[in-house]
Amino acid sequence: MTDSTSFTNQKFKVIGQRVRRQDGMDKVTGRAKYGADAVAPGQLVGVILRSPHAHAKIKKIDTSKAEKLKGVKAVITSKDLPDHTDGDRDLLSMLENCMARGRALYDGHAVAAIAAVDASTARKALKLIKVDYKVLPHVTDVDAAMQDDAPVIHDWVRTIGVEPAPTKGSNIPMRSEFGHGDVDAGFAKADVIIEKSYKTEQTHQGYIEPHACLASMSPDGSGELWVTTQGHFAYRNWCAQLLGLDMSKLKVTSSEIGGGFGGKTHIWMEPIALALSRKANRPVKVVMSREEVFRASGPTSSTSIDVKIGATKDGRIVAATSECRYQGGAFPGSWAVIGAMTSFACYDLENVKTVGYEVVCNRPKVAAYRAPSAPMASFATESTVDLVAEALGMDPVDFRILNAAKEGTRASYGPTYGPIGIGPTLEAVKKHPHMRAKLKKNQGRGMACGFWFNFGGQTSCTINVAADGTVNLSVGTIDVGGSRSSLSMICAEELGISYNQVRTHIGDTAALAHNDMTDGSRGTFASGMAAIIAARRTKEVLKQRAATAWEIPVEDIEWQDGHAVAIGKKHSKLEPLSLADIAANTENTGGPVAGHNEFVADGAGVSFASHICDVDVDPETGATRVIRYTVIQDAGKAIHPDYVEGQFQGGAAQGIGWALNEEYIYGEDGRLQNPGFLDYRIPVCSDLPFIDTQILEIPNPNHPYGVRGVGETSIVPPLAAVGNAVSNAVGVRMTHVPMSPPRILAALEAEE
């Protein structure tokens, strides 16, 4: 029972309440410390010199003048980062992405770095470094990079997943395939077949806090790193591996994180900061500028996707295929795999085949962005689904309900689903008043579905009981959206005490066993599950202490509402002992009370959402306004409904920005043209309406409280929901995201 993770269907006292967030006070007073807010005595300012070329051989770097400038304490190039990767190509790529080794592979690629006494000196010194480049041919477009005449970026890349195995270098590191049944036979039965190609442009997570860290290395090989990250254990491991350090000697402390959305799951300038600190033997702070964040962190893929769906007159999809070509930046990734896996995950299909092509380009290496790769695949699928419904003369919601995956459906990517929420979200869409609201001229409504896997992963936590009966929970998953409060609620629920008696903190890498990153919507799911088990173990200890104090067998004791209660008539004189009573007496009953859990949090429940969007399109300018938006998503169990709603709304807003405005624009020269918030425009307050939310709770059978991850799924449907709405408003099918005013006008003109 203690360690079981099965769903218990218990009644809750704390879970589901809208309590005050524990990090709120620090965040509204300016006291919360983020990546750039730490200070160390004697710290230097670290800055990075970046390639202005999309692809260039680095013939020579002359740092002598910079080194001689007064106030410069260290200058490094790739020579100061020797290869400790021992033949691990992925790790070497990571090192090469942190600092170019002989070749600059994208505009913004780091080539050298400086630590100096102040920012002015550091900036001045940067200009004194002379880099002799030989510019090489480049490619930044996903389809162009796949052509035979494209410049091959890495001659060591061989396409995995094709027969016969290639012998030549390629820009396609991998082909992947998923599906089941016989799609040719399926299409042969179809009354209607729609085939369409789509493109989506590259976007950035757009977290408001730039990457920042404070590194402090000592000559004895020990060090500390304060950093904004979604995973300080992963950062610790990677930095130690790349710099040839013992992992245990590098203590990484996570700062408050000013947004990540997947973009803070990779290292960029952290090893550089550590290497600078090692060379200077002084603490070094490195803070990226916004321009650096855009040019040289990890945006999401641009894509090119073909979808083909066939259906019979009665509205059943009989075959579906997709080919997902995903641009992954300058090094191999596995983003198209996820696109191919998620393409048709919402549907119950007899015949389905999806193919993914990873593509390398002269752009920054792609990182995760909230349900990475799924929104683009969903845009292509859900746009085509609308077209099929239209061709059949069916209501698009009814058509989706008829074909929706359900418990027992074999997913297009392999596994068989347990209880899932796609059907219920669609039924909720059908019933929602939003669907019956009147539209005016030039307005359109669209809806779309989305899926995300969610993830569990390695997790550890510790519960410490203080002498006054209040409790600290230490977890190793970064809090990106309120998880410390949610985890305190879970701990309080399990211990039978009040929320205010529990305070949750993020432990550093030396305080806890390894924790995977906060990714895959796992923070509250996995650390919550770990906290439940740790709390149950804590209760076992507390019961034992009561038994010792009472001198009765522990089997006679139950834990009820935060108290040890002696059961049975023979103990009727024993007054229940509260957690505080027991905590006050630990000296005499066996020492401090704690509970731990270290495990792999398996059983993350998949999650589904359906979104409804109304837009108003100005046919003269092509400008689009979202005038109403509704998110309906299965949360399994909402621990803190405010934060679940917040995830729904935030993901929807990011998706709306992606659908309408946001895109990386590269020039012919392969340089990023819009590395700033003025030209890369994310939605502002006046761009959006209130975003309505409806939380459905279809319990995850593999979590004691039924929790599913909630953070990511909300960004999956918006591209298609907005796309379907715009297409319905203007009467032309939109196939290229973002649907910026020029693209809408071009589509209207092409139609005329």
């Binding site: 006070m25 990540g260 939605p683």
Partner: protein, 163 residues
């Protein structure tokens, strides 16, 4: 780079600092005055995370030089609370879950305070346009607008009681 001596008032207190002539007020406040509640999100005046008041004018401190603060009154998020009593905006941001990561929160609070001082009864649209210079990537702005609406209501009730 030559520097200058700056005498200014920050959140009501006299403050002096020396800074290079090319240093932004944002950097001066963060690195010399120690007020790290003022955040840098872009350094180009596009995100509003560094919003402060300069003689009651709402500005992006990244677009002002440190030396320009000489003789001026600066207001930052650190000056919002009255002793141990939070400003109603701070209270409502917590109550309405109007923050997630919190990096944009200081800028929003300062901008919203300026709005409510000028317009105690703003419409939703007025709130949205007044806060359009502050970027938030976590919330979709929904709960931020609701927190500002709730604060406006609270403050109107309060001023009615007073009168």
């Amino acid at each position: 780079m030559s520097g200058a001596h700056v005498s200014t008032t920050v959140n009501g207190d006299a403050v002096q600092f020396a800074c290079p002539n090319d240093e932004s007020l944002l950097d001066s406040l963060r690195n010399r005055v120690g007020l790290t509640g003022v955040k840098e999100g872009c350094g180009t005046g596009d995100c509003g995370a560094c919003s402060i008041t300069l003689d009651d004018r709402l500005v992006c401190s990244c677009l002002v030089l440190g030396v320009e603060a000489n003789g001026k009154q600066i207001g930052t998020v650190e000056g919002l609370a009255d002793g141990d009593k939070l400003h109603p905006l701070q209270e409502n941001f917590i109550k309405h879950a109007a923050l997630q990561c919190g990096i944009c929160t200081p800028g929003f609070l300062v901008a919203a305070k300026v709005l409510l001082e000028r317009n105690p009864d703003p419409s939703e649209e007025e709130i949205r346009y007044a806060l359009a210079g502050n970027l938030c990537r976590c919330t979709g702005y929904d709960k931020i607008v609701r927190a500002v609406q709730a604060t406006a209501k609270d403050l109107r009730k309060k001023s009615k009681k007073k009168s």
